[in-house]
């Protein structure tokens, strides 16, 4: 069944051969109904085992902190069966949406098959590894067969940018973390599923900022790869990013577009701060250390959720993060994320976040309004107990 699906999809995408892959990341372990469970259990029943190292995306629960779960026991039975099935297929129980933050990650040029939109865009853009935009079912079929259709982003040709975005932003704006999800949100709206070349990001733009940009672009659009000229590995120059061909379109992105992106992501209803959620995608070790610095000696007046992975917690085991989070009053969420799991059901008011992806999905998923701000805005507002004016509004 797995090979049949890989071949059928490959043919429809116009691939005339398959390519060997060296890793897979599975999005299908997050529960979206009985069909996903039936599929995974049918693979287990057929004796399926993955043939390449395979990591697992976030799931519906925090396995390390089950007491956070506000749903019923019954709600947990099928999602747990789904998770058990993927582990039985030989996948590693990493439970993170940011597998690129694990110690082992793909290298430049490696062919892989990853699911989870933010992981796909990060792998292609920042790591220079090569994955198509794989979804549930296809991801595990590639992992079981060790192959993927050789087409699209797996090929040199498919990785060339057809849309060029020229940033017209001041150094001050580019120095702020909050700009990156806004740039991503704006680009996702323009790009659809095109490969984008961004001109004007500072040399040395951090992985965390590129992560935030990509995650937002893969939420508001289907962006699976971007080049940041002078920053990402396949774009030493604009010509390298486009293959020297004239792009389909060149667009400008300035302060007004970022303000529009902010207005789209900031869906505040009452404006009353009910809670704060940071870490979508999962916080990296660097971001956790930044957060711990911001929290030091302070206390949150509202529920404050921090999403990260087990792997990242291991990487920061040299610091007393449990003590620091506890004295601030923060709740740590691992293995899942606050926008897909009922861990913050009792929130009254709007929720503040620094994530473009969270801001994009939470209103529909959780029925909450979103206040958008930088990580520092989030912490300062939590301490004040009310939403402070976002940095964006002062530009």
């Amino acid at each position: 069944m797995a090979m049949e699906l890989v071949v059928t999809v490959g043919e429809s995408l116009g691939a005339n051969r398959l390519v060997d892959i060296s890793s897979a990341h599975i999005d299908g372990c997050l529960y979206h109904g009985v069909a996903g469970m039936d599929f995974a259990e049918s693979l287990v029943a057929g004796g399926g085992k993955v043939v390449v190292p395979t990591t697992l995306n976030v799931t519906s629960f925090d396995l390390l902190h089950p007491e956070l779960y506000e749903g019923t026991e019954d709600d947990q039975v099928f999602p747990r069966r789904l998770m058990d099935a993927y582990v039985a297929l030989g996948c590693e129980p990493t439970w993170t949406c940011a597998p690129y933050q694990l110690a082992q990650r793909p290298q430049m040029g490696e062919q892989i098959a990853w699911g989870e939109s933010n992981a796909i865009v990060f792998a292609n853009s920042v790591l220079g590894a090569r994955t198509g935009r794989y979804g549930d079912f296809m991801d595990i079929c590639c992992a079981l067969t060790g192959r993927a259709p050789y087409t699209g982003l797996h090929t040199d040709e498919g990785r060339l940018a057809t849309l060029v975005v020229e940033l017209g932003l001041t150094d001050k704006i580019l120095a702020s973390d909050v700009s990156y999800p806004l740039i991503g949100h704006s680009i996702g709206k323009m790009a659809g599923n095109e490969v984008v070349a961004i001109v004007g990001l500072p040399a040395g733009t951090s992985e965390d900022r590129l992560k935030a940009l990509g995650a937002a672009a893969a939420s508001s659009g289907s962006v699976a790869m971007f080049h940041a000229v002078g920053v990402t590995p396949e774009a030493p120059s604009l010509g390298a990013a486009t293959g020297g061909r004239p792009p389909r379109q060149v667009v400008q992105l300035g302060k007004d577009e970022l303000r529009l992106a902010f207005d789209e992501l900031d869906s505040r209803t009452t404006g009353i701060l009910g809670a704060v959620s940071v870490g979508t995608p999962h916080m990296s070790a660097t971001e956790m250390r930044e957060l711990l610095d911001l929290l030091a000696g302070r206390r949150s007046a509202v529920p404050f959720y921090v999403n990260t992975s087990r792997g990242v917690l291991e990487a920061i085991s040299d610091v007393d993060w449990p003590g620091a989070l506890q004295s601030f009053g923060a709740t740590l969420v691992t293995d899942t994320c606050t926008y897909i799991s009922p861990v913050m059901d009792r929130v009254v008011g709007d929720v503040m976040t620094n994530s473009g992806k969270w801001a994009f999905y939470a209103p529909a998923n959780l029925g909450v309004g979103v206040l958008f701000g930088s990580l520092a805005d989030c912490v300062d507002s939590a301490v004040a107990g009310s939403a402070l004016p976002a940095e964006v509004l002062r530009w």
Binding site: A35, S117, F137, M138, G192
Partner: protein, 129 residues
């Protein structure tokens, strides 16, 4: 062009903007719940869904398969660009449950047009205009 085989007849719901099935559609009812979407509140169940292209999450395969399993999925889908994520969802529903949801590439007729999808073709039965 045919990307998932099968035959379906129904009325077209042409979306004005791309839609992420995951997070944008109720898993139980097929209602479009993405705030601000031009077709907010409409149901994708029981229609021929016209999608400019997919968007966002790679979970859309599971969502489509689940909608097809529980009977709130579209009868068929017309895409303007190939979308392997939706295609896989339709293929899995066919493999596991025998539910057909043909996916065809082509120009999307306006909402309300009755069409038959067959062998990768879109046959217009009657136009709403």
């Amino acid at each position: 062009m045919n990307i998932v085989s099968g035959t379906a007849t129904g009325s077209v719901l042409a979306l004005d903007e791309p839609l992420s099935l995951w997070g944008g559609v109720s898993l139980n009812t097929g209602e479009i719940i993405e705030p601000g979407h031009p077709q907010f509140g409409e149901h994708i169940g029981g229609v021929i869904l016209g999608l400019p292209h997919g968007r966002g999450s790679s979970s859309a395969s599971s969502v489509l398969a689940e909608l097809l399993r529980n009977g709130s999925g579209p009868l068929g889908i017309i895409l303007e660009e190939p979308d392997s994520i939706l295609m896989v969802g339709a293929l899995v529903a066919q493999l596991l449950y025998g539910v057909e949801c043909p996916i065809v590439l082509g120009k999307i007729p306006p909402t309300g047009t009755r069409v038959t999808l067959i062998d990768g073709n879109i046959i217009v039965l009657e136009s709403s205009f």
